[in-house]
Amino acid sequence: MFTKYIFFFLSVLALYSAVMVLVSKKPIHSVLFLTLAFFAIAGHYVLLNAQFLAVVHVIVYAGAIMVLFLFTVMLLNLNADERSPKPAWVNFIAFVAGCMLMLTLVGVFRGYDIRVAQDPSLSQIGLVKNLGRILYHDYLVPFELSSVLFLTAMVGAVLLGKKEQL
């Protein structure tokens, strides 16, 4: 009963802040609203009994990625009036593309049969112990491969960021 109200609150918060990301005039407000949206989604994870995912979501998105966004926006000091207005055809194409995405999503979710998980062990899957066991037992190779991918991306970023020629 109580969790139902929290669910509605978080959903409204997530949708509101997601809309405000688009509507806000100042880029810095958009960034902060996006952060708020991430927090609302982290709250949803907690409701789904996936505390680990929730906290990692906050650490990675709110704590790292959005801080870098904030940094960039602050240092560039972007302001609404300094942005050049987009030509009408760009807006039109964006509108059409957005409508198509909306149509696709509606189509996908209409055909999808939403069920509540019946297996009682599945409700515990988000706990860190179970998640770790699955990641390091059943999906060890893909997990390690993706970590190598991350490392490559990191090295690549440092390489690209270096000013002088190697």
């Binding site: 810095i28 902060l32 952060t35 906290v55 709110a62 704590g63 940094f71 602050m74 860190v128 112990k129």
Partner: protein, 339 residues
């Protein structure tokens, strides 16, 4: 519902305690400074200056509420509020003592014993930069912005080494829950004896994360006026300053929990005390450990000069992070050999 009631009461109690401790830390800080510099420190308000924090608080409340003309009004107020809120959040997962027994029922002296306590602390630490960045940017002042950028880049850099140094504790304990970590350090089995390097790295990072001297570059008076709070006055400034003391208290509590055995003390469980008195004594032991860390924070502030900015970055990225990674590798090997 009594559980919910108890938890609410406990959370409020911890909040009030953090605020009180932070309040009196300001007095103790100035007393310690006085002691180090061979003078008396504040001694006019009340006996031994005991009413000084009240006087300071009243002064901050009655100061003129000033807001820069070009500031982003909402974010300008949000900055200090967020800093204060985030500073108070961490205390939720810290186990303050062993269980209380009231009317045959046990009550844990911990607001939330979640199974990812340490990650929760990481998360709070990582969002701690928002208050400072928002405040510094919203002031619309170059010194504020520079101070905010400095503070946040420093906090982001030291966060990494901090997390890496705690990973060794997690590896040894095999759990992310704060309660489990404390219970593994029963008696004198403290983590600091197994992880001296990790402790040192964590301690240094804690100084950088709380923006305390020798890492107080964000508010370097000689070059940045007041750093991110240059444009702040009245209680909004008070919030920023106050949050620093709360952070000091909480990081002391985290360090005591992770490395100094939390509320455990050798020989305490052999005294045969009744559960509630035992809980109280254990809490006092824990509090003494936190006070010790608080004193170290002040001791270093009044002893060491401040780092230069490039030295700070070099120390963080080129010394602490490699050392922390080395520590992780060594711990891994030792655990593997012992297994």
């Amino acid at each position: 519902m009594p559980v919910l009631l108890y938890k609410t009461a406990l959370a409020s109690l911890i909040l009030i305690m953090s605020l009180l401790v932070a309040m009196y830390s300001t007095l103790i800080e100035r007393k310690v400074a006085g002691w180090f510099q061979d003078r008396h420190g504040p001694n006019r308000a009340g006996p031994w200056g005991l009413l000084q924090p009240m006087a300071d608080g009243i002064k901050l409340f009655f100061k003129e509420e000033f807001m820069p003309d070009t500031a982003d009004k909402f974010l300008y107020i949000l900055g200090p509020s967020l800093t204060m809120l985030i500073a108070c959040l961490t205390s939720a997962v810290i186990p303050w003592g062993p269980d209380l027994v009231i009317g045959g029922k046990t009550y844990a002296l911990q607001v939330a014993d979640i199974n990812i306590g340490i990650l929760y602390i990481f998360a709070i630490v990582s969002i701690g930069v928002y208050g400072i960045m928002i405040g510094g940017w919203a002031s619309n002042n170059k010194y504020s912005l520079l101070g905010a950028v400095r503070a946040s880049s420093q906090m982001i850099s030291y966060e990494l080494a901090m997390s890496l140094s705690i990973i060794t504790i997690v590896m040894m304990t095999g759990s992310l829950s704060m309660r489990d970590i404390v219970d593994q350090q029963q008696g004198f089995n403290w983590n600091i004896f197994y992880q001296p390097l990790g402790f040192l790295i964590f301690l240094i990072c804690a100084f950088a994360e709380t923006n305390r001297s020798p890492f107080d570059l964000p508010e370097c008076e000689t070059e940045l006026v007041g750093g991110y709070h240059t444009e702040y006055s009245s209680m909004k400034l008070g919030f920023y300053l106050f949050a620093e003391y709360i952070n000091m208290f909480i990081s002391g509590a985290v360090m005591a929990t992770l490395f100094l055995g939390g509320y455990h003390f050798p020989g305490l469980d052999k005294l045969g005390l009744s559960p509630n008195i035992f809980a109280f004594v254990s809490f006092m032991v824990f509090f003494a450990k936190i006070t010790f860390f608080g004193f170290i924070f002040m001791w270093i502030r009044w002893t060491l000069p401040r780092f230069r900015y490039d030295q700070l970055m070099k120390l963080g990225w080129k010394s602490l992070i490699p050392l922390a990674i080395l520590n992780v590798v060594i711990t891994g090997i030792v655990i593997l050999v012992n297994h």
